[in-house]
Symmetry: D2
Subunit: 152 residues, 4 copies
């Protein structure tokens, strides 16, 4: 960890994600997997299992939100600064059934000093869009790695 | 079931909720409890447990969404017609810790023939607001109980 | 102005609104009228005129947003602190025609130290709901009236 | 008009926009200009004038919404089917001053049979993002041009 080159955005993104993942029991317990992560972006996958569905074998929308929210959380925490979700919205476009493999791709739409906007598309194994999510993040105090002092 | 008086809104709301609950493995697995339900309204509670938190013992926002979304789902399904979530938004106002007991109260803001808007406030055991959620529902074909034919 | 009793919420709300209104050319030019204002609340009205409609004599949704947004702006600025809109959402439920008289009622849903949530319902002259709006405000530096020093 | 080749998406988009524009007094009165239009996309511009600002020469957020909403409306009406706004959200990221020239670019995020999602970024003359808007459209009965019968 101590060798992370904070000035390399791709390496920094991966290192931040590694730290977050190691303590994210919630995502782990849901069977979520990180496919890829990069500066301002993250892709995560999850299979809809028995405990996520209602009597019609349709996934509870909350689990789709959860997958999208996790991708958003990882994407907005790739710049070394701690960031949290402030406001999220989700449009459910197509139902998911038990056994479906869902993939969420989070991309940075906008990033300011204190806040950011991330768009997450959730698709199923057929590539069809299941949900569109937009998350607003806010930076809070703290960094994953020491910020190098700026030389004069 | 066959004795449900569909014309009594309170009895109908409870009966619809009973049916939904019996098959809602997702909410059951999260330890969610229905406190009360009525026409266009529902109150549900949940405790933040170990599997819902990240390394800082702060609840993953997705579980707060899940509780609010469940209360919304039950509230919008109290009028006999099947209804599903179409669009949801959530503002996270205060973090929740492991052990917190959260309560979500869903109230009907607007109901048309085909769609509805429900506001859900999530508070913790101190009565402080943790999140504000707004859900848009859409009616789909199907009813919980047979609709009595209208007499001429 | 100098006699405003800042400790009287109702008088303070009215005084803040008077100041805002005197410089709000945008709302004035749209023919918006303030019906009432109070702590965390505001009611405003507007008639849909020729310049607000498209070829089908249906009001451009932007003007309905504008009315709701104005009511929100006045409501969130009734506590002496300057506040601005950060995030807004609107659901269009029913079209408005030329000649319709719309009324927007803004109510405070949540207020923290730095931010607030306000719900605005827009109805027409028949009392039917035209739109539901939710606005998130953020406090910025500055007050309408000097804040009295707290005595020890 | 009668010569519009409905099967050419680019030509159809322009033709739909021409019809919409001819009757859109609201956008015309605000000084909005259509820069370009294409299948599922539209770019429109507007200058912040005196009547759009408050006493601090800051543009009323409603006019920024209006510009974004217009770009959204044109973009979602480029496929021949009439479409209307159902739900919109906007994040205000940076204030605009009198004299600023704002540009809104609407792009199709998702399109189903009955509904669509469009993202609109509003930037100022320096290319800085002023607002991010997301609009949900819904198809209503009617088309701009006769739909050719499908041959067997």
């Amino acid at each position: 960890m101590s060798n992370v080159v904070v000035s390399d955005p791709a390496q920094l993104a991966q290192a931040c994600a590694d730290i977050m993942w190691s303590t994210d029991r919630a995502s782990q317990n849901l069977g979520i997997v990180i496919d890829t992560v990069g500066p301002g972006t993250a892709q995560m996958s999850m299979t809809i299992v028995d405990s996520m569905v209602n009597g019609h074998d349709i996934a509870h929308g909350g689990f789709i939100f959860m997958l999208a929210d996790s991708a958003f959380a990882f994407a907005c925490n790739t710049h070394n600064n701690y960031a949290v979700a402030q406001f999220c919205s989700v449009s459910f476009l197509r139902p998911s059934k038990q056994g479906d493999r869902l993939t969420a791709v989070a991309e940075e739409r906008n990033r300011g000093t204190r806040s950011g906007i991330y768009d997450v598309r959730v698709t199923n194994q057929e590539g069809k869009t299941v949900a569109e999510f937009r998350g607003h993040s806010r930076v809070i105090p703290g960094t994953f790695f020491p910020v190098p002092e700026k030389s004069g």
